[in-house]
Every structure is written in structure tokens, then in C-alpha cells.
């Protein structure tokens, strides 16, 4: 009976970790996508604060995904953070085309992240 209880507890823990990780991943990615929208608006409007906003976005992405390596492939994390940091550099040097491209890449990566982390049939099979 002790073993059965241990097994049940293990399953509950696994379920909690699995659901928790999906919820957190999707929540953080959603928030970062909203930040991307704000960055895009600032970019379109030619906002002089764009450089600071891009730097703040990179910092915010780094902080928000600080504990992601516990359950997300480290390679996927590194690519996203690299591109977020590139946004700030591109805004500083005034490379508008490069900035737009990097922003599109960050947005695509976040969208893909949300899609692939959900337990949907296409991801399971």
C-alpha cells in the first residue's frame, strides 16, 4: 500500500510540474509578445525612446525566463535571448531594417514557443 501511495504522490507531483510549466511558459511568452507589440508601435512611430525600450525588453526577457532552463531546452532559450539582445544593439546603431527583422524573429520564436509547449494533438503525436 505504501508503494501505491508513493506512486500516486509521484504522479500528482509530475502532473503539477507539467501543468505548472506549461502555464508559466505560455504566460511569460504572452507577456513578451505584448512587449513586442509595444516595441513595434514605438518603432513605427519613430519613438526616440526606442533604444531604451529595446534594452528594457532584453532585460525583461532575461528576467522572465530566468528559471526556464529547468524545463525548456537550453538551446531554444539561448536563441531567444540572443535575438532579444540584438534588438537593443540594432536600435542603438539605428539599423531599422535589421531591427524589424530581429523583432519579427523574436515574435515568431515566442509564437512557436507557445504553440509547441501546449499539449495539443499535433505536438503529442
Amino acid at each position: 500500500m505504501k508503494r501505491v501511495i508513493t506512486a500516486a504522490v509521484l504522479l500528482v507531483l509530475v502532473a503539477a510540474v507539467s501543468v505548472g510549466s506549461v502555464v508559466v511558459e505560455c504566460h511569460v511568452a504572452d507577456r513578451l509578445l505584448q512587449d513586442c507589440d509595444a516595441l513595434e508601435a514605438a518603432f513605427d512611430d519613430g519613438d526616440p525612446q526606442l533604444t531604451q525600450a529595446a534594452a528594457a525588453f532584453a532585460e525583461s526577457a532575461e528576467q522572465a525566463t530566468g528559471f526556464f532552463p529547468y524545463f525548456v531546452y537550453h538551446g531554444a532559450m539561448d536563441t531567444l535571448l540572443e535575438e532579444a539582445r540584438a534588438l537593443s544593439a540594432l536600435a542603438t546603431i539605428g539599423d531599422r531594417a535589421g531591427f524589424a527583422e530581429a523583432l519579427a524573429r523574436v515574435r515568431a520564436r515566442l509564437t512557436l514557443w507557445i504553440t509547441t509547449s501546449r499539449p495539443l494533438p499535433e505536438n503529442i503525436f
Binding site: 508503494r3 501505491v4 508513493t6 506512486a7 500516486a8 509530475v14 532552463p69 529547468y70 531546452y73
Partner: protein, 226 residues
């Protein structure tokens, strides 16, 4: 490198805990579900050790699920013989009253070589020596020989049987008494120490002591090894 070393230690500890939780069934003859779980766990455990870019949890979570599933399924099989039959199958009689059932042999996809190999492993070298042979669910073949080939037991000789004192067990080794063995022999630590004293042995100078339920002690002293 340090990460790989630490991950290996963590996985090692988790696997030992997993085997302990799953119990002795996992270490003995493997039934189909135990074989599946053991194979999968060994494969899963190696992935996060080899690849540092994969979160450790990605390797541990499937292991936890398999361990839990194995325990719950075996508990269910214990309660329900139908489930047990469905998962592990039934033992099948290959040879009955000396007659080889070729239909069963075909059903089990066993060749004659497989059968004779299984029999040889049971020290049977002639099919005519077999009264009954059963293919067990773990893949082993159990043999019941014909009466002429069965080992003689004390009962066959008739007469009074001597008292059964049970199996001698190691009750003391490496300077420590073994609780479960003392319990099985119905003796206490004091009995062991008294036995040592009676035979003029110092506890520290003794390698091991065996005892049975009748209070027979065998003491093996340590030898001076150069």
C-alpha cells in the same frame, strides 16, 4: 564536465530510489511490463546525462511516470487476475504426460532448438524424461520430470524424520549483529554474544557467526592477512 558529473550523480541516485520503490520484482525474473519499464528507464536516464542542453527534469519526469505506472499496474494486476492475464499472459503447457504439444510450441513461436535449450538449462537432456513442461510468463521453461528421473527425497526412504532446525543464517558479520536473521532464528543479540563468550571469542576477532533455530552456532574467526 562538472555539470555532466553532477547530473550523473543525480540520475544515479534517482535510479536507485526508483528501483527501491519498484521493489524486488524489478530485480528478479522480468515479466513483460517490468521488462518494458526497465528498458525504457535505462534509455531515458542516459539522455540527460549525455546532453547538457536538455533540462534534467525532461529525463526525470518520464522516469517518475514509468515508476508510478509500473507500481499502479502491478497493484491492479494483483487485485484483478483478468488484468494480470491480459498483461502478462498465462503459463502454457508444452509437454503434458510426456507428449509434446506442437500447437502450443507453434503458438509460442518456439523452435525445437529453443525448447531443448530450455530443457537443457533445467538439466534435462532427453525429452522422454519430461512428464510436464510449462512455458512460464517470464519466458522460462519449468520442468517436472517423469517419476523415474525425479530426485529421491528423505520422505521416499520412510522412517522418522529428524527435527528440522531451519536454515543456518548469518547473525553476526563485520562486527555487527543482523536483526532480521536473529529474528528468523528466534534469538537475541545477547544470545550471540553469549555464544561467542562460551567459545572464548572476542567480538572484534570474529568474521562471522551463523545460527539456526535450535541454537547451533558456527563461529568463523578472522584470519591475520599479510
Amino acid at each position: 564536465m562538472a555539470i555532466t558529473a553532477l547530473r550523473t550523480i543525480i540520475i544515479y541516485v534517482v535510479l536507485i530510489a526508483a528501483m527501491r520503490i519498484m521493489g524486488r520484482r524489478q530485480l528478479g525474473e522480468l515479466q513483460p511490463i517490468e521488462l518494458v519499464v526497465t528498458l525504457l528507464i535505462s534509455d531515458l536516464a542516459s539522455i540527460p546525462i549525455q546532453e547538457n542542453g536538455i533540462p534534467l527534469l525532461n529525463g526525470l519526469i518520464p522516469i517518475f511516470i514509468l515508476v508510478a505506472a509500473e507500481i499502479l499496474l502491478s497493484a491492479w494486476m494483483l487485485k484483478s487476475p483478468g488484468i494480470s492475464r491480459l498483461i502478462s499472459g498465462n503459463p502454457m503447457v508444452l509437454i503434458h504426460k510426456g507428449h509434446l504439444d506442437q500447437k502450443v510450441l507453434k503458438k509460442l513461436r518456439l523452435s525445437v532448438e529453443d525448447l531443448t535449450e530450455g530443457l537443457r538449462q533445467q538439466n534435462v537432456f532427453d525429452l522422454r524424461d519430461v512428464q510436464t513442461a510449462i512455458a512460464e510468463t517470464n519466458g522460462k521453461i519449468t520442468v517436472y520430470p517423469v517419476i523415474a528421473k525425479r530426485a529421491l527425497v528423505r520422505e521416499d526412504l520412510g522412517g522418522d524424520l529428524p527435527p528440522d532446525h531451519g536454515m543456518p543464517l548469518v547473525v553476526f558479520a563485520d562486527g555487527q549483529c543482523c536483526d532480521w536473521a536473529m529474528q528468523a532464528c528466534d534469538i537475541t543479540e545477547q544470545d550471540v554474544l553469549d555464544a561467542l563468550q562460551r567459545q572464548h571469542h572476542q567480538k572484534e576477532a570474529v568474521l562471522m557467526v551463523t545460527a539456526d533455530a535450535a541454537g547451533h552456532y558456527t563461529i568463523i574467526p578472522k584470519e591475520a592477512i599479510q
